[in-house]
């Protein structure tokens, strides 16, 4: 079942690539490692679940917009001020992990169920060389890749995109030429959290979401981003797809409990060989 393994791996990797993209966008532009984005994304997923019976489109919008706003606000009132006062990665680790616990606690308090699964409509099945795949999974993969392409296009061809690049490459000069860098940071953080939310929604409809999923998605997203070269979007995607495969094959061949052992073993191995990740960690997009 090699083909089956490949397809499952690609889909897992594709969905994982959304939080990875979120991490990459936030770190690439602000230089801040945000460990809370997974939990914030799952919070958005719970919101979507809550409103799902009402109207699917609106429910998804509520979750995604909520996460964008949270990302925007925490950057604006918390992370940018800390960074202006010279905060280092240790401080950001503590602050963003604490934020994650805050949102986890809020989820526990607000939502009636600790574990949910999102009933999004299935799109039928597709037959790829004899293997039957749910259309929805293919859609998830295409969506992730499409998002990547859109971000790249925005960056290359719009004025906003250029000012993002400028901000990530030389913050001081970006300020000097008149870019509103604090706004760039806030928007990047909002987009990162919104991407994590989309990832959580897909995850929640293919598997399930619980209070811990956010940490899993966030840390996995982070680790995958580091393996790809943190801040490097292409590296992140490639690494997500590879890791998806690793998870899928180790699951098939050795059983689910070996998945994370193999995964993290490979992560450590890659980082010993290439400490800056597969494609290097230039803080560019």
């Amino acid at each position: 079942m090699i083909l089956n393994g490949i397809i499952t791996g690609l889909i897992m990797g594709g969905i994982l690539s959304l939080p990875v993209l979120g991490v990459a966008v936030i770190y690439g532009i602000t230089g801040i490692p945000n460990f809370a984005i997974g939990v914030i994304g799952v919070f958005g997923g719970f919101l979507t679940w809550y409103f799902l019976s009402f109207n699917m489109g609106i429910a998804i919008l509520v979750g995604v917009v909520f996460c964008f706003a949270i990302g925007y606000i925490i950057q604006r009132i918390l992370l940018t001020p800390i960074s202006e006062r010279g905060g280092d990665s240790t401080l950001f680790f503590i602050v963003t992990v604490s934020l994650g616990f805050v949102f986890e606690g809020l989820m526990r308090a607000i939502f009636p169920r600790p574990s949910i699964s999102l009933a999004l409509p299935r799109i039928g099945t597709i037959n790829i060389a004899g293997v039957t795949v749910e259309g929805f999974k293919i859609f998830a993969l295409l969506f992730a890749l499409g998002t990547l392409v859109i971000i790249r296009l925005l960056e290359e061809h719009t004025e906003i995109g250029k000012s993002w690049q400028a901000t990530s490459q030389n913050l001081k000069l970006a300020k000097l030429i008149g870019i509103k860098t604090n706004r760039v940071f806030s928007i990047a953080s909002g987009i990162g959290c919104a991407l994590a939310c989309v990832g959580a929604i897909f995850w929640g409809s293919l598997y399930n979401l619980n209070l811990m999923t956010g940490w899993d998605l966030g840390f996995l997203g982070f680790i995958i981003a580091v393996v790809g070269g943190i801040g490097n979007i292409w590296g992140g995607i490639i690494s997500a797809l590879i890791m998806g495969m690793v998870m899928s094959f180790s699951g098939y061949l050795l059983g689910g409990m070996w998945q994370s052992v193999i995964l993290y073993f490979i992560v450590i191995l890659v980082l010993i060989v290439a400490p800056k990740g597969i494609l290097g960690s230039e803080r560019s997009l």
Partner: protein, 238 residues
């Protein structure tokens, strides 16, 4: 003689315990080229960064176009017409030359943008030739031209340039200085440059001598001898 367009008084700044500027008074008239000369560590960079707002000052006033700007953030000073080309880190390293310039005209309107970028290409034809090249693959001298080009593209009323001649071949220094003079004449831009190169005498209308965080002289260039200026540099070597 007109009023100063930029005036600094009683400016002090420090890095932790080290005081880098000890009560600087300094002014620039409209459409002048003013040179700040002084040995390494004199405080030239600190002074320019303080004026642009990327360095926090301790005390003192900075008046620009009739506004007290010493507490303004960088962006607001930029919008009023100040621009600094820093001594280091003065390009966007991973963008093409073209994109470096495109992003530098961000505050201008659409029609003006093209005009400004064209102006930079006319002044530095080599940048036009290399427009598709990634900035950090340019030679050191070409990167310096790009940095000054970014300053020109910003279309500032007062352009501060921190040691543009560092690392340039003597011929290129002469050429760069001529270009600065041309910018001043063509666009009525006021230019403040810090320098250690004696050729600054050829373009500056006035020179300020800065040493150990204090102003040592303030003279029209025609009244200054090369020896006086040289003395100040040589002071740094001993």
């Amino acid at each position: 003689m007109s009023e100063p367009i930029l005036e600094v008084s009683g400016l002090t700044a420090c890095y932790g315990m080290i005081s880098a500027l000890k009560g600087i008074g300094f002014y620039v008239n409209d459409n002048e080229i003013v040179g700040i000369v002084g040995p390494n560590g004199a405080g030239k960079t600190t002074l320019l960064e303080s004026i642009a707002g990327s360095m926090h000052i301790k005390e003192g006033q900075i008046n620009f176009l009739g506004h007290q700007i010493e507490r303004w953030p960088v962006l607001k000073r930029r919008q009023l017409g100040l621009m600094l080309v820093p001594q280091e880190g003065n390009i966007f390293p991973l963008m093409s030359v073209k994109k470096n310039l495109e992003v530098s005209v961000i505050l201008s309107n659409r029609a003006k943008k093209e005009e400004l970028i064209d102006r930079v290409y006319k002044l530095f034809p080599v940048l036009w030739e290399k427009r598709r090249q990634i900035a950090n693959t340019l030679s050191g001298g070409q990167q310096k031209m790009l940095a000054v080009g970014i300053g020109i593209a910003s279309n500032a009323k007062v352009m501060l340039i921190d040691e543009p001649s560092i690392g340039l071949a003597p011929k290129l220094v002469t050429k760069l200085f001529e270009t600065l003079k041309k910018i001043k004449e063509d666009t009525r831009t006021t230019i403040v440059l810090s320098e250690q190169n004696i050729k600054v005498l050829n373009i500056a209308d006035r020179l300020f001598g800065l040493e150990a965080g204090e102003i040592r002289f303030d003279e029209k260039t025609e009244n200054l001898s090369r020896d006086v200026v040289k003395d100040l540099y040589l002071g740094s070597i001993s």
